[in-house]
Symmetry: C2
Subunit: 351 residues, 2 copies
């Protein structure tokens, strides 16, 4: 079943069928109807490969994200979902590529073989060879995340520096003086993963400004690591009364560790961080956090990419988002060291 067959049965030429379908040339009502009847009857749909070959567009975008070492985090997965849905509203399909670096086979296939019209890159590193490569090629892409040199790029990012800093200030305002930072796994930090780096930077700077005592930790992306990390924190500095985390997968473990150490949240210990909203709400008490607007970010990335595909010479655009901290139930005034309880409404003690 191909366009020639349709043309024959409708008694017209192939080009007329093509134009009737695309609308790029006027076709008389009469013939259009004739053609449509045949198409409906035979359930014809033009072959995507042939079309892509002829007009150079695949109507597909690539979504590039690193292979999960062990598993994907909820946030990563939220991005995937939102990108797919946003693309669908533009009648684009999404081709997934589990590629962390430039040299991955899948990445090469996607771009080298022209399987996609454009790409969305996730899990950006501050120095990211995928971004550099694509930029050098002039290949249409939008990053979810921001490299160290984002000036002329297309991206939608989160201001992790500001977000982590806001968390610190929130804790400092509540009177906490000794706090910890629970980051993503060390390999991610070392490879320059953006949120891990910028989050750490924001945390460190804000804590210094407020003169807080801090310790920073890396933590595996799972509950067991979270629990172990918390135990380490209390072991290293029992006076710690609060922490900031970027690691939503560890969150359940952190809470568990706190419970086992008999630190009640938020009475004895405050927890906050940067986490997708729906994950923040699954823990008890619900996490006060800067909610990562994954859905919005995915949607915006797609919109940016569509714009770029429509006008290849458009000037680079981007969105830097700074979602506010959602006050939920996991933070409270710092208790006096040694005292068990402080009424929630009491002015916090200054040491």
């Amino acid at each position: 079943m191909n366009i020639g067959e349709i043309a024959k049965r409708a008694g017209v030429s192939r080009s007329t069928v093509s134009y009737a379908l695309s609308g790029k040339r006027t076709v008389s009502d009469n013939t259009r109807q004739k053609i449509q009847r045949v198409i409906d009857e035979l359930g014809y749909r033009p072959n995507a490969s042939a079309r892509a070959l002829a007009n150079g567009r695949t109507s597909t975008i690539g979504l590039v994200f690193p292979p999960a070492g062990d598993h994907y985090t909820g946030m990563q997965l939220d991005f995937i979902g939102s990108v797919v849905e946003a693309a669908a509203t533009h009648d684009y399909d999404v081709l997934l590529s589990p590629s962390g670096v430039d040299s991955d086979r899948s990445f090469q296939r996607l771009l080298g073989e022209r399987r996609v019209d454009g790409a969305i890159l996730m899990e950006i590193r501050l120095e990211d060879d995928r971004v550099d490569h694509l930029a050098a090629l002039g290949f249409p892409c939008v990053a979810i995340g921001r490299t160290a040199h984002p000036e002329n790029g297309w991206w939608v990012g989160l201001d992790h520096t500001a977000l982590a800093a806001a968390c610190v200030r929130h804790l400092a305002d509540l009177g906490h003086r000794t706090i910890a930072f629970v980051n993503r796994p060390e390999t991610l930090l070392r490879t320059g993963y953006e949120s891990a780096r910028r989050g750490l930077e924001g945390f460190t700077k804000a804590a210094a400004e407020r003169g807080l005592t801090v310790r920073t930790y890396c933590c595996g992306d799972d509950a067991a690591s979270g629990q172990a990390c918390l135990e380490q924190i209390l072991h290293d500095e029992p006076a710690t009364t609060a922490l900031v985390t970027l690691n939503e997968a560890a969150l359940g473990g952190i809470y568990r560790g706190l419970a086992q150490a008999d630190r009640h949240v938020p009475r004895d210990f405050s927890v906050t961080g940067v986490v997708a909203g729906r994950w923040a709400e699954t823990v008890t008490p619900q996490l006060t956090a800067a909610d990562v607007p994954a859905e919005e970010m995915g949607r915006r990335a797609v919109e940016l990419l569509m714009e770029r595909l429509d006008r290849p010479d458009a000037t680079p655009r981007h969105h830097l988002l700074v979602p506010p901290i959602s006050l939920r139930a996991s933070t409270g005034p710092a208790g006096l060291p040694g005292k068990a309880e402080v009424p929630a409404s009491a002015p916090f003690p200054q040491s």
Copy 2:
């Protein structure tokens, strides 16, 4: 940059380049090296659309799953991840299609336009028009899930009936007499979503066999709904001492509701169900559950599909998995109604 250019620079014909690349015809070492040099130098990769058009294979598989109403559950997302990674090991890319029914635009594109060589279907309904349609077409596909008539199909499924029943028996063995079932949302149950239907069936049947008192509930896929559902359960029947759930997204809310009702898990109340392992481990106490082996299921589905693509006339194969219940910390012996505590080692009371 195309094959003709490579041929010209290497001083051979296009067919020779093609054969050098595919290995489908012997090429002298000498010319092969000449060709390879040019290819490396220019970074040439054959165009995927042209190749697909010429040989009828796209080297892409479609992954079909319903659009998230509100968001995706962790399990859905685990499937996506595992399918993508498994496909990558076979050098296949994955095209995502958010399609719940046959008539979705995206589904039509995928199949009608021959964008993919085969498909993997997720979120199967007992009567699923996508499965029927594909089967009628003889289109290579593998379902993750099992319809009401799975005899001649290709699929990898979970025995939800047996799993839910095992949960019930586990609770009954611990002495629980009044238990509840927390299912997925009502719309899913009504539309015949497999795990919701078979899970409910298994629960009901096993409970009847053991003469238990039961109530069944549907519950939204989020923490707030879980909490509300639990309150309803205790309101409807305060004597309830345990529940079985398929709804991992509601789990956090269920725990929260239990805590607020002052029911300690597992001392006063036992919770179990069918949930992906890593989610079971994020809650405290960790959930005793039949762990959904999402990674294995995704991998097996891809393997089955590869097999089917290789041998189009192979006889249908499938895997029905029945993972054991992982004993963790959320279930314990039923307490006597009105009594607060029962030593874990005590024989459970028979009423």
